[in-house]
């Protein structure tokens, strides 16, 4: 898992990115589709983008304040852990 946080000097927004490797692109895609449907609870101040490249799930946040960013990243990590535990216990995925 690789992370990277910085303030973009141009926009003044906080950026945070996270890369999560999965055993295969299939599992990375399942995680993406499980984690994407629920939008951020607050109306503004933060955006979150999820993408999959091969077996890597990448998440990129952009937020106005560190406080908002922390809450979103924390809850995402809780959700991610649950999805991975579910895959460990009830996977691997059946053939499509």
């Amino acid at each position: 898992m690789a992370t990277d946080a910085e303030t973009h000097s141009g926009t003044g927004r906080l950026e945070f990115s996270l890369d999560v490797p999965f055993p295969s692109s299939r599992e990375a895609t399942i995680a993406l589709r499980s984690l994407s449907p629920d939008k951020e609870p607050r109306k503004g101040g933060i955006t979150k983008q999820l993408t999959v490249t091969d077996n890597l799930l990448s998440v990129r946040w952009s937020a106005d304040e560190a406080r908002i960013l922390r809450v979103s990243v924390n809850s995402f990590l809780d959700h991610l852990t649950l999805v991975i535990e579910t895959m460990d216990m009830f996977g691997p995925p059946v053939d499509p």
Binding site: S34, S36, D78, T81, P93
Partner: protein, 335 residues
């Protein structure tokens, strides 16, 4: 044969149930119980659900003696309820649906209660009183909707009971409502409380404020006991519910009442409703705590009806929602 697995976790209960054509194959459940004087907060409740949901899912499959391949559809609670607990349950439902290659189905929690009540009691077309910690509604079916005839204009009846329990530090184990019910049996004196039926609707927040304010003084001066207050609160709240249920029955010309939701397993409420029904020549249907209180099978049962009528939820549309009214759902499985 159609087998549906249902995931429920919109409040402090987490349950997974499996239904095969009207038969409950398994329905394990856990409850997040807080210390006396404390309610359950969304993030703590979600943490509880995250810690146990996979164990409960494993139990549901084992008790039903089924493998994932035997399941036809994965149903979960889309709303209404607390956001964080709802997301927890939806995440697992989405993940297993994809792992197992099964369709997903988002279910309205209130519809789950109604369909489970209908399945268990065989009530055909009842006027439904749905009473729980988060909801209080009188519902009747008409033209492909479960229509709300009356409801609370502020807090739910169960929320009023739970918060009263917190004030006088009644235990939350197994539930505050159950403990109030037991204490009320020992009440000897009726303490007059506000009675707030407003047309077809009810209001409980004023009653709660009144009894919160009065409880301390009355108990410390020895004017009444905690048992008297439990008794008086139940009698007042339940009378209001019976009144609006009876009015809805008169409106609809209905001769059946079905009580669902967590408060629905209160035997005193069932008794009072039974008296009203007897006077009108109507029939009362109620279930016990296994199916009244939030559980996974009720989501599986509503999901079973929806799935059989051709509904599915795409993953991108599977977001949860804290507000989701009973009458938003088109009932595609009834005439």
């Amino acid at each position: 044969m159609t087998v549906v697995i249902g995931f429920e976790g919109s409040a402090n209960k987490i349950g997974v149930g499996i239904i095969r054509d009207g038969e409950v194959l398994s329905n394990p459940r856990r409850t997040y119980i807080t210390p006396p004087g404390q309610g359950f907060m969304p993030s703590d409740t979600a943490r509880h659900h995250r810690a146990v949901i996979l164990t409960v899912l494993k139990e549901a499959l084992e008790q039903a003696r089924l493998k994932p391949a035997d399941i036809d559809c994965v149903a979960y609670t889309k709303g209404p309820g607390m956001g964080a607990p709802l997301v927890t349950v939806a995440l697992v439902a989405r993940t297993v649906a994809q792992l197992w290659g099964k369709p997903l189905l988002g279910v309205n929690h209130c519809i789950g209660h109604i369909e489970m009540g209908r399945l268990i009691t065989k009530a055909n077309n009842p006027t439904v009183l749905y009473v729980s910690g988060g909801n209080t509604q009188v519902i009747a079916y008409s033209e492909r909707r479960y229509r709300i005839f009356g409801e609370t204009i502020d807090i739910a009846v169960g929320n009023c009971l739970d918060r009263f329990a917190r004030v006088i530090k009644i235990s939350n184990d197994p539930s505050p409502g159950y403990n109030i019910e037991q204490m009320a049996k020992k009440g000897e004196q009726y303490v007059e409380l506000p009675y707030t039926v407003k047309g077809m609707d009810v209001s409980f927040s004023g009653i709660l404020s009144y009894i919160e304010e009065a409880a301390d003084k009355m108990l410390s001066s020895g004017r009444c006991t905690a048992e008297d207050l439990c008794f008086s609160l139940q009698e007042t709240l339940f009378s209001m519910l019976v009144e609006i249920t009876e009015r809805a029955m008169a409106h609809c010309g209905s001769q059946e009442v079905l009580i669902v939701g967590g408060v629905g397993c209160n035997l005193r409420l069932q008794e009072m409703m039974g008296v009203m029904c007897k006077e009108r020549g109507a029939k009362l249907f109620a279930t016990d705590e296994r199916f009244c209180i939030d559980n996974g099978a009720m989501i599986a049962q509503a999901g079973w009806e929806m799935f059989r009528s051709g509904q599915e939820t795409d993953l991108e549309d599977s977001w949860i929602t804290q507000r989701y009214r009973t009458d938003e759902v088109e009932v595609t499985w009834r005439d």
